[in-house]
Point group: C2
Chain length 427, copies 2
Amino acid sequence: MKKIQIGLLGLGTVGSGVWKILHERRALLRERAGVDLQIKKILVKHRNKKRTVSVPRRLLTDDISQILNDPEIQIVVEVMGGEGASLRAVLGAIRRGKHLITANKTLLANEGHKIFKEADRRQVSVGFEASVAGGIPIIKSIREGFVGNHIQEVYGIINGTSNYILSQMTERGASFEEVLCEAQQKGYAERNPYKDISGEDAAEKLLLLISLCYGGWFSMKNIYVEGIHRITPFDIQSAGELGFVIKLLAIAKGEDSRVQARVHPVLVPKSHPLADVSGAFNAIFLKGDAIGPAMFYGRGAGMMPTASAVVSDIVDIAKSIDCCEARITPSLHSLAVESVDKSSNEYYFRFTVFDRPGVLGQIANCLGKNRISIASVHQREQVKGGKVPILVVTHKANEKDVQKAIHEIDRLSVVAGKTMMIRMERF
Amino acid sequence: MKKIQIGLLGLGTVGSGVWKILHERRALLRERAGVDLQIKKILVKHRNKKRTVSVPRRLLTDDISQILNDPEIQIVVEVMGGEGASLRAVLGAIRRGKHLITANKTLLANEGHKIFKEADRRQVSVGFEASVAGGIPIIKSIREGFVGNHIQEVYGIINGTSNYILSQMTERGASFEEVLCEAQQKGYAERNPYKDISGEDAAEKLLLLISLCYGGWFSMKNIYVEGIHRITPFDIQSAGELGFVIKLLAIAKGEDSRVQARVHPVLVPKSHPLADVSGAFNAIFLKGDAIGPAMFYGRGAGMMPTASAVVSDIVDIAKSIDCCEARITPSLHSLAVESVDKSSNEYYFRFTVFDRPGVLGQIANCLGKNRISIASVHQREQVKGGKVPILVVTHKANEKDVQKAIHEIDRLSVVAGKTMMIRMERF
């Protein structure tokens, strides 16, 4: 039986999970995959640190060259995170002809061009199933399961922290700040939660999905990103009364090799399967021209789900070693960008106005002037220091017109605060 | 570039879909998979029949030997359905060293043992992604994506016809007979709908899932099967009031290589993701020890979704030809059977009794004697010819005790009709 030696870079949460599965299931994996998988060396910072998994000390090293320069190691698994040192390690492994597996979406989103180019040149495979939606085999499904499809649209709940915060706000009517603080205390949110709540983390993952779905490379700067920090319990409650829940979605739509990509809060109809994805779960809903609509749901993070995805990549690559050609790396030609400005959506607006007669007229005029047609208006008595919210739901309107209208409305003297705009999706 | 010639057995709905994708997307598939795929011959009954897809007549043959004896054809795709002729065709192809792809779950469920054994002997691959849940890449996900997991439980909505009927009954309060008749008129249900509504079709698919999840072979006769034909609008409405929807689920639970398998209607909590899977959609919810809970959702049937799954198998096998070894066929050792009798569940009972005092006492006594503890009783005034329904929801009870209790209760003189029992799942 073929024996494959693996070098593991990092023994944190995910690394420990990978060790557990490969070590405890060696026999099972031999049976299922026909390959004998063995971790030969593990790169750690501190060899003597106490760990949650029991790993023979002789496997641990703090010298990466012991992995990179070992010709017996054919697969390198990067689970150390970060960017600078990981990039050097990853490129070093590829340049020595080793296949690479990484769970590092930030690295791939920012340096993927360099990494995939090098992999292509050295004819090695790059596995990154663990980098998007943890244990959900979404990359394999798009790349292999849907190989005969043109993917038309992708909608993902792919940031667990934001989804947890929005779910808690929805369930308990609590404020963003309150839930975030609690999530940080419980360890569900990072001490610095910026990347999660700003939508940036979701955008990095979206970029990887786009490369698989649309066969080309996208730049982070071409993804429109808006976070969840301005959403209030009032918005969530109002959305609920209209039959929607608010979710942070990563969206890509492609047509004629032009791709529109955006991450922002969305009003999702309660009847849509994405509406029920709550807590730290992830889900990806997509439409392919042959399969129609499909959805994948599961844990997006955590030790064992992520390790499960890494192991799936290890098995795939190990099986292909010495027989098949390396897997085709994502195509690196630049995709054409369809600007979000050109999209048309229905919109939810929450205007904050002074409680005076004639206010609605001024707002409605401004919307009308910008070709935005109103579907419904909801005014609830919630006076705060003379300020009241007015909710407006629109028919389909052009994004550029909407941006312009908001800019104008926010300058009206009757308007007392920044307008909240959330896009609606009907799927 | 490697060129692979394919023989297609059948040009019905699925066959036409496969032709469409391979023909129209030949360049795309070359780019994505690095293989040039070409259909060389297609077996049809009538060469001159008018068809929905335009296929060059020279490809059509009514003589299967032209495919089986053509050494250039390396992959045979069986999409003709049925059992006798298909089995001969499939075994003929395998014996000539051709790789096989089939969408025929009935054939695999009943003759899989023979087919996989032969494939193993001849070292050819058998792809059957299209046989379970149409376009959803569930077989690939279990086999490859979750390769590092022990799958603990599987729950599938894998019969579109039953799910469509139950969804319509739920939405419209219509009777089983009414909806079935309408579904037949619309072509959503077969003229002979027995296999779908009896649960047998779902059981065939479950058997294939079991072989992948638990690494062994199961026999159809060891799957407990109960259909949906006795469910009434009253049951659906009552379940709704209790916070549940009724779904036909295919369930497998495995522990210590003993597997319990059953197909029957289930009360699913409305908050569970399976509850929202309506119409002709399929979904598979499973729990793996590493990934935790995961769900896959999509179209379970239809020309293009099924063809998409067939094409995914074609690409996988084509890529492996002349380099990798054949994919490992499902293990054929018999799995130990855990009898459904030994399961414990919560239950929903609808007793039909004569409207007399003391009836509930007799029923409650009988349940108590059989160690079944009542969680709640609901008696609604719905007198029909002196008969009234009593609803009882139980705490966890043993299936064998429940079967015995129902047998006894149905013989009580106060009982006016056969008791309806539906199991509940909390997941």
